[in-house]
Amino acid sequence: MNNLRIITPGWFTIIQDRGRKGAQRAGLTEGGAADEHAYLWANKLLDNPMNAACLEVLMGNFEAVLSADALLSVTGADLEFSINGQPAENWSTHPVQAGDRIEFRRPLNGLRAYLGVAGGWLTPELFSSRSVVTREGLGGLDGGPLREHDELPFGPQQATFRRQLAPRYIPDYSSPLTLRLVPCYQHDLFSPQDRRRFSSEEYRISQRIDRMGYRLEGPVITPEVGGIISEGIALGAVQVPRDGQPIVLLRDRQTIGGYPKIGCVSSLGCSQLAQRGPGAPIQFEFVTLESVQAERLLFNRFFAASQWHSSGEELVWP
């Protein structure tokens, strides 16, 4: 079997696809690529199925060698990607050969890069997903992040092409982020003043961030009650514990929880948040359900219907 042999595993490198669907009632976390937007592009660049597994590389310090020729793609954070020591373009495909050495060194813009391969990384599936949820110790090779000497299998190379995404589709992860959210859940348990403060003043990302959630720092908001009857938690739910500092819940959130929630951030907003690190400014904007649905549907349609131009460098709307 062709494989990618890990020399330096990085700070926290894990296999991700779109996550585990239909198993939350067993208490299983959804998981999935923290930046779904960049992850989907990594597969689109390769004509992969949308659910093909990619590597999610956090902040770099990653080095690996290929045992066979392969067609790779790189998207997401700029982690100073290189092939055999030569800098290589982000948001591009890269035909590579057996013995080539690839590296992600350090974060220049964003936190998480996605490394795709034609056909996807073929690690074992669990509940129809290859996603790793380290808190549960499930998925991937051993339920944890990659380790030295791990070998990631991939299928035989079928085609070789060079593609690069047009700059207008590439987000700048260092730009200020406004998260659009739907008022829902216990929104009404927050005073009108708190709601206004929450959506008009600035928050900053704290040091306490991971794939489960991003804890923010800023104006304290206090719901009428400290706890609620535990209920299912949707992606992007903004939970407010007793200290009044909001937490945006992401892919590795628990399935149910008992803290009040003031709203739900759009899925595309969650992707952008997952690329920001401590200190980055965040604004919240309440919007209608219809507006976030329309935003996501437009993205989905564009993604499903768009095709690569014959030059391979441009996407066109059919």
């Binding site: 939350q24 208490g27 669990l126 829902c184 009857i229 949707a234 149910i256 739900c264 899925s267 359900l289």
Partner: protein, 234 residues
């Protein structure tokens, strides 16, 4: 069940919440489970995931196939259908869990008995003397929240959680009881340990968790030898 008590709300671009009531009640669980089954049967491909919990059912749907208005209409239809044919509501399964109640593995058993001015045997008798309903699954894969624990032994969590609770540990937190499926931190009062495997990742998602919301659970006291012979780990 009536429309007046059940509410459907949008919570995100592809998720709806059905609220069955505002207080925890054993009577709500069969309704939640019945609606969950009907949603699966009738709306199959529209639905990505369902999360029942105490008084609610979270419905994650496929935005490419349905928007909230459509989902709302379908859910109302299913509720009306359920009201018209309540006899179709499925009963949850009966699950018996063997437990070795002993201070060796039940770190808090003696202190809990003392706190409530009961003997250890009385605590065991009370805990294993009734059946419990599964109100929710969460916290960890296969972790079922069971209620209600008899008032005589209901006990709050430890103020600071233990770093590691052994798999199979049976605990009490307020009026709830649970079995820890795997090694994890936790603040529950541990009174015994079960040899029963609570979560099996080799199974399909519908059967990976031994417990499901709506099941009825009873605890059967066993001795050390039985615990060991059933595969229990010390």
């Amino acid at each position: 069940m009536s429309d007046s008590t059940m509410r459907v709300e949008a919570v995100s671009e592809d998720t709806a919440m059905i609220r069955f009531g505002d207080t925890i009640s054993e009577a709500l669980i069969p309704q939640i489970v019945a609606l969950e089954k009907r949603i699966e049967q009738r709306l199959g491909p529209l639905v990505i995931d369902l999360v029942p919990s105490y008084t609610t059912l979270l419905v994650h749907y496929d935005l490419n196939r349905a928007d909230f208005r459509h989902v709302l209409r379908e859910l109302r239809h299913l509720v009306a259908d359920l009201e018209a044919h309540p006899e179709d509501a499925p009963a949850g399964r009966q699950v018996e869990i063997p437990v070795w109640y002993d201070p060796t593995v039940g770190y808090d058993l003696e202190a809990l008995a003392e706190r409530h001015e009961l003997s250890v045997d009385e605590v065991i008798g009370i805990h294993s003397g009734k059946s419990y309903q599964v109100f929710a699954i969460g916290f960890n894969p296969g972790f079922g929240f069971l209620g209600r624990v008899d008032d005589r032994i209901a006990t709050p969590r430890h103020k600071s959680p233990r770093e590691a609770i052994d798999p199979g540990s049976v605990g009490i937190a307020d009026a709830q009881t649970a079995i820890y499926p795997r090694l994890s931190p936790g603040g529950w009062q541990i009174i015994g340990r079960s040899p029963q495997l609570m979560f099996d990742p080799e199974q399909d998602p519908a059967h990976a968790s031994l417990l499901q919301v709506g099941d009825t659970v009873t605890f059967r006291p066993i001795d050390r030898d039985t615990f060991i012979s059933l595969g229990g780990q010390l």
